[in-house]
Symmetry: C2
Subunit: 330 residues, 2 copies
């Protein structure tokens, strides 16, 4: 079916997003990152530099565990880090709605500054535009990041037998946002995992067997694995009962009809590492509070596609998301 | 008066914008570019690299002489160029309104690609978010740019006696947007000057007497000169009848109550150059169609402040814009 209009699902990070990218953007642009499936682009002419960009339109602006400011810094820091770069500099573009209380803007900006400090990155350039009431949802933020490349990671490096690690519980961000939007009787027991991951992940750069990393944001863990399979030519086998999901998240997903494997995370990474370096990778991850629940959830296999071995021993194939379960998640 | 809410004028590029930057952003961030009055930031740790960012929220999306796509590439190319850098790489973040015709998106994206090609820059990373109907005006675009620094230019380098050059007619973009918004009986005779200026300006990098360049976008020529005075400690004297303004622009400004000195330009630069290098600068500029109307409009003087010598010989002091004459100009 020919696309005629932009739909909410085009922002899902799933199948529709890929279609939009392939049918519109790739026709005119040639983003290297689209071909290499990295979250940041290595600049060929400027040695050791990677760049990335992301816009943030999350609703609500403040949620348990974070806010749009913390998210906008964490997301860009994480995109650089999973690309094997040390995040260094960030630019920030603000689109602000007329009437936004200055106090709200200030909370967001101070949260960005604090997160940047935690991550050790400098916010070096900015821009502010104001639009009329109703023409945005309080504030949209774009961040772009510049990092110094230490390791060039790529889906092309993975091999059958490699371990697939996730650094902790999945689905927290998605559920936290969902609960923050709705009036539920639950006393919001889930916080977003929103956090800059460079302190957790950069120590892995020294492992010779480190192949690929990615942060499973929009589209969740499943989407990262499907894209990894699509661009490597190999497959992934994942064991459902090894994927860390909080009891509360599982409960709320059952209630709302979400699949935690497709929910966004903002403080997690998927890591592919050689069998030889798996133990050391886990040791490094477990030594940091952000990675204390890191687990090997599966392995790379030679047949393409992503297979989920369910807890009752069944087998399910994971595909790209068809619809966006939760728009405006980041 | 204490600011309580964000107002349209906070996006004007004038006095309110400066207040917002000083009272909110500078409290938490330390953008070097805010202190040095450059449009891009030199990255101290990474040699020879400059970065910049801008968001584009122009209304309407298409206007005589350009569109939001062309604008978003030209603006970032120009910010890097006037900072003495060769523009190299651009990232693009799209916030798209649900329901935007794909054909419209495609026109914009292809215009970006074409402008990038003209300017010799590569669009290397991108991101797309979709918001619900009514939550943006079709599309907002953020671009961030990375350039290689050739000349470090700064207001601190200017000296009394230096020439102040503008590269062509001022006010075209502002008037073109204004006409595109309203139903006038005039047959839109003014096109936006929107264009990437690197082919025009980078040949000036070789002049030892080149001190400072800036593109007079939001806030116009007057704002650039006031900020130049504020951050250099010297003043500028400008001669009204030397500032190139098209007859049609002057006519429409009179009709609508605009001052062309405060209207946005998207394809012009203000240049400060030593007296010794002024002739060569003009020669270089005149040899490019984008600079054929370049003129010396005034000079740097020792007393701070910006003085306009009017065509009838009077003297008027130029200040920062108080209100935004034309919101959403870029």
């Amino acid at each position: 079916m020919k696309m005629e209009k932009v739909e909410i699902g085009h922002g899902s990070g799933g199948k529709l997003t890929r279609e939009l990218i392939e049918e519109v953007f790739l026709k005119y642009f040639n983003f290297p990152e689209l071909h290499t499936l990295q979250d940041a682009t290595y600049l060929p002419g400027i040695s050791r530099i990677a760049v990335t960009t992301d816009s943030y339109v999350v609703r609500p602006l403040f949620f348990p565990g974070g806010d749009i400011g913390k998210l906008s810094i964490s997301g860009t820091v994480n995109d650089l880090t999973v690309s094997g770069a040390l995040p260094r500099y960030i630019t920030a573009g603000f689109i602000v709605e007329e009437g936004l209380p200055i106090e709200t803007l200030e909370r967001i900006v101070s949260s960005m500054a604090e997160t940047a400090k935690t991550a050790g990155v400098k916010i070096v350039a900015g821009d502010t535009k104001v639009v009329e009431k109703g023409k945005c949802d309080g504030i949209y933020i774009n961040t772009a990041g510049v990092g110094e490349v230490v390791r060039e990671l790529s889906p092309k490096l993975i091999k059958p037998g490699d371990s697939v690690i996730v650094t902790g519980f999945v689905g927290d961000h998605g559920v936290a946002i969902s609960l923050a939007r709705e009036e539920f009787d639950v006393e919001t027991p889930v916080e977003s995992d929103c956090a800059p991951l460079n302190s957790l992940l950069t120590p892995l750069f020294k492992l010779p067997g480190l192949r690929f990393m990615r942060d499973p944001t929009r589209g969740g863990l499943a989407t990262v694995l499907v894209e990894l399979s699509d661009s490597s030519g190999f497959g992934v086998r994942v064991y459902e009962d090894r994927v860390p999901v909080r009891e509360e998240v599982r409960f709320i997903c059952d209630m709302l009809g979400y699949d935690p494997l497709y929910l966004a995370n903002e403080g997690k990474a998927v890591i592919v590492v050689s069998p030889e370096d798996t133990d050391e990778a886990l040791e490094i991850l477990h030594s940091n509070p952000l990675g204390k629940d890191a687990s090997v959830i599966g392995e790379v296999v030679s047949d393409p596609g992503v297979t989920l071995v369910t807890s009752i021993g069944g087998v399910r194939r994971l595909e790209l998301l068809e619809e966006d379960p939760l728009p405006r998640i980041c």
